[in-house]
């Protein structure tokens, strides 16, 4: 392999070029990270309000009225406001947190350093992709403040509900239009980012860094980028079609014979199912976009802190590739009940179960990595171990939902909500916490506080289990999701004690996150100074100062001689061999 191409920009001059419109992948990574931190707290606040409303639907809170004069008249939250909060919670979490932090945040900062490059392949595109994402977030949040408020059709925005304007409900006017425009902008940003990640990984690897010597983090970022490239392109197209149905009177998703809110509509020839196919063709790979980088981080940390090579490196790589590939053939499992051809459900379910196999391989290999190790319990490691536990718990319920026969009952119940929150919500977020504690010393030159970190970990770990496990019991009891309250059905009234328990668990868990915020900002200034390689890790980012210089390697070109997980090698001087150590 030839030596890496020199990225075409010098050290920045001036505040704006340095910190705002920066071309430096490290600054952009941090920008993405903090955009996600802002979004995750916004999304969490929305979920706390939702949980509050579900248990205290009649409570008068004057703050609600101040925030949403029409959504909460007299301080009592309306069902449509609840649905708006739900829609925005899901959308912000999926797009601006789960897609943004693990890939664009950590990936931007560490992919180039881990592969020995000076920057991403296209620094200007990188900057553009961040600021486009920022614009998308602004447009999304603005949807709260337009007449009618934020949309209420959920993060999946199924037409006709999302396609016929204000007729189908408040928030379906301008709010839904803003939502679609924001998502379209976000798609553009993600496409730019995906191209950049792929080109960087393929072209800029250091001498000696063959694909099969890449850290599993880089593998997961690469495959995630490929998923993003193929998935977001389709979502962008679908979004444009939906916008045309709303604004230009087309009928891509709207059939003839609609009578909405006592008004006959003149659409014909469209299919509501077409949207679902396009949406989930993106939407299922999106799940892996959220979780694959977390898997990469977990693998990296489990090996590092067990002082053992990763168990079955090749199997892990093939599993990532297998998940990425199969991820494009399982979207139909979101549609078993949709009215699509029931024969195709059979094919989709076999493929869905097949994707469980590489997921299981990864779990076995993580436990295999721990086996016979010498585990160091840093906070970063605790979060990685928590990730494995949550991944198992969240993944196993997929075996129920992947069977169309069982989905006949579980579809759109809280069982589904519990499943995806466990796996793509909290497991992915545990991956981010793990990454934050692990790489913080590299980014800032300081450690985060370990005592605070461990308290935060244990309380969060118990908290998320307390919130999301009961959802499975609710699902078994048949509790439908997306209900603004549970007062209209006899069988739901009996389940209220579980909801009350979950709501209090959610309050508790949300409050505990303040420990993390404090730790994060306090440690930037006051954390204990960290050496260059505080975890005795092997990959290239630990060979450069903390924080790394502008071009990462100070004009040198690292050469890689070893695989990424050479821990406890018999006969070696230390219990690890760095990738750039002499052969």
């Amino acid at each position: 392999m030839s030596s890496p191409v020199v990225a075409a920009h010098g050290a920045p001059k001036g505040f704006i070029r340095r910190y705002i419109f920066s071309l430096d992948h490290k600054v952009i990574g941090i920008q993405y990270y903090f955009l996600a931190v802002f979004s995750v707290f916004l999304g969490m606040a929305l979920s706390v309000l939702m949980r509050f409303h579900l248990v205290y639907p009649d409570a008068k809170v004057s703050l609600f009225e101040k925030l949403w004069p029409t959504g909460a008249p007299g301080g009592i939250m309306t069902p449509e406001l609840y649905l708006s909060l739900m829609t925005m919670h899901g959308t912000i979490m999926v797009f601006f947190v789960l897609t943004t932090a693990p890939q664009s945040g950590f990936g931007n900062y560490f992919l180039p350093i881990q592969i020995g490059a000076e920057d991403m392949a296209f620094p200007v595109l990188n900057m553009l992709s961040f600021w486009t994402t920022f614009l998308a977030l602004v447009v999304m949040v603005a949807a709260f403040f337009v007449p009618g408020g934020a949309p209420l059709s959920g993060w999946t925005a199924y037409p006709p509900l999302s396609a016929v304007g204000q007729l189908s409900g408040p928030g379906e006017g301008l709010g839904q239009t803003f939502w679609i425009i924001s998502i379209a902008i976000f798609c553009g940003a993600s496409l730019m980012g995906a191209i950049n990640f792929i080109a960087t990984t393929i072209d800029l690897r250091a001498r000696g860094l063959s694909l099969m010597r890449m850290p599993l983090t880089c593998w997961s970022w690469l495959v995630t980028a490929i998923l993003g490239l193929l998935g977001f392109a389709v979502l962008l197209a679908a979004g444009v079609l939906l916008l045309l149905d709303r604004l230009a009177g087309t009928s891509f998703f709207l059939p003839a014979g609609l009578l909405v809110n006592d008004q006959i509509l003149n659409h014909k020839g469209g299919s509501p199912l077409l949207w679902q196919h396009l949406f989930w063709f993106f939407g299922h790979p999106e799940v892996y976009i959220a979780i694959l980088p977390g898997m990469g981080v977990a693998s990296q940390l489990l090996s590092t802190f067990s002082r053992k090579p990763i168990f079955g490196y090749r199997a892990m790589v093939y599993a990532i590739l297998g998940i990425g590939f199969l991820g494009f053939f399982v979207w139909g499992h979101h549609m078993f009940m949709s009215g699509m051809n029931p024969y195709s459900a059979f094919a989709f379910s076999v493929l869905t179960m097949s994707i469980g196999v590489p997921s299981a391989i990864k779990t076995f290999n993580w436990i295999g990595t721990l086996w016979g190790g010498r585990i160091r319990f840093t906070t970063a490691m605790l979060f990685a171990l928590g990730f494995v536990s949550l991944f198992v718990t969240g993944g196993i319920s997929g075996i129920f939902l992947g069977q169309p026969a069982l989905d006949l009952y579980f579809h759109d119940t809280y069982f589904v909500v519990g499943h995806f929150h466990m796996i793509m919500g909290v497991a992915a977020i545990f991956g981010m916490f793990a990454g934050t504690f692990y790489w913080f010393p590299k980014v800032t030159g300081r450690f985060m506080n370990e005592t605070l970190g461990k308290i935060h970990f244990y309380l969060t770990f118990l908290g998320v289990y307390a919130i999301f496990t009961p959802m499975h019991y609710l699902g078994i009891s048949g509790n439908p999701r997306r209900y603004a309250d549970f007062t209209n059905f006899d069988f739901l009234g009996k389940l209220l004690p579980i909801h009350t328990f979950m709501t209090h668990a959610a309050f508790f868990t949300a409050a505990v996150q303040l420990i993390f915020v404090f730790n994060l900002f306090w440690s930037i200034k006051k954390g204990k100074p960290a050496p260059m390689n505080p975890w005795d890790a092997t990959t290239l980012e630990w060979t450069v100062p903390s924080p790394p210089p502008h071009d990462n390697f100070a004009g040198k070109h690292p050469v890689v001689n070893h695989g990424p997980y050479e821990y406890s090698v018999p006969g070696a001087a230390r219990d690890f061999i760095m990738q750039s150590d002499p052969a």
């Binding site: 009215g339 295999g368 190790g373 609710l474 997306r482």
Partner: protein
């Protein structure tokens, strides 16, 4: 090390609530429901054992292999193990799907028996309507312009079609026990979903489509029907009931309704 214990305790608590059936399915009222529960239980056992073993092993590794000053084992893995656990999970997971296929096939691949009672379902924001063909056994033509929810014509039955004169409409679903029933599901605005927990059945109702959906309920009683696809601000109150009646009671009810026409 504490984490290992925490994982064990969480695992036991979760399993306790699954085994204790504290919040569970209502009893099934059909043969399909019984087959469903059997498939659920097989899946629960298979996944339960995997869940239990994986979490206990994780906790064990955390406790057992904590840093006590020794040396970690240098190994890059074991191909035999990889092959074993890959094929084992593949066989188990695919096996479960295949085991459940008959249940899915009975609902969706097989047509309703020819003698099934046909009932049309109309879902709209945020109410249900059900239509029975009346003594002539024929449904009347529909005309969107004649829809009148207040006037008792939620389907928009065309007043010019004689076949529609005796059609019976109802805001709740009544079916005879022990007789096959075929619903024809339609929506006139957004997507809704027909769900009866006791039947273990669920189906989206999509505007622009007529989706046939058949079942047979064997247990007399009244069961709640919650809309189960987000349909707008009143989604949580889109409720009706399904009343399963003895054949005699059902026939009497239908005759009375038709007589009022």
């Amino acid at each position: 090390m504490l984490l290992g214990v925490v994982v064990w305790v969480l695992t036991l608590v979760i399993c306790y609530f699954f085994i204790g059936h504290y919040w569970w399915f209502p009893p099934p009222i059909s043969q399909h429901g019984q087959a469903y529960d059997a498939q659920f239980n097989i899946t629960l056992w298979v996944t339960g054992v995997i869940f239990f073993c994986a979490q206990i092993a994780l906790g064990y590794a955390i406790v057992k292999f904590r840093d006590r000053g020794g040396t970690a084992r240098y190994t890059h893995g074991n191909n035999v193990l990889e092959v074993v656990w890959t094929s084992a999970t593949a066989v188990l997971f695919i096996g479960l799907v295949l085991a459940g296929t008959r249940i899915w096939a009975a609902v969706h691949f097989e047509d309703a028996p020819p003698d099934a009672l046909k009932i049309e379902v109309m879902a709209k924001q945020f109410a249900w309507a059900f239509r029975y063909p009346g003594p002539d056994g024929k449904f009347g033509r529909l005309d969107l312009k004649q829809v009148d929810d207040q006037g008792g014509n939620p389907f928009g039955i065309d007043s010019k079609d004689p076949a529609g004169k005796d059609d019976v409409t109802s805001a709740s679903l009544k079916v005879p026990a022990g007789k096959p029933v075929e619903l024809i599901l339609r929506s006139r605005d957004v997507i809704h979903n027909f769900f009866v927990r006791e039947l273990r059945l669920k189906q989206d109702i999509v505007p622009g489509m007529e989706i046939p959906f058949h079942f047979q309920a064997d247990q007399v009683g009244t069961y709640e029907v919650p809309c189960s696809e987000l349909c707008g601000l009143g989604h949580h109150q889109m409720r009706t009931t399904m009343e399963v009646m003895t054949t005699a009671d059902f026939d009497k009810w239908l005759q009375e309704q038709a007589a009022q026409k």
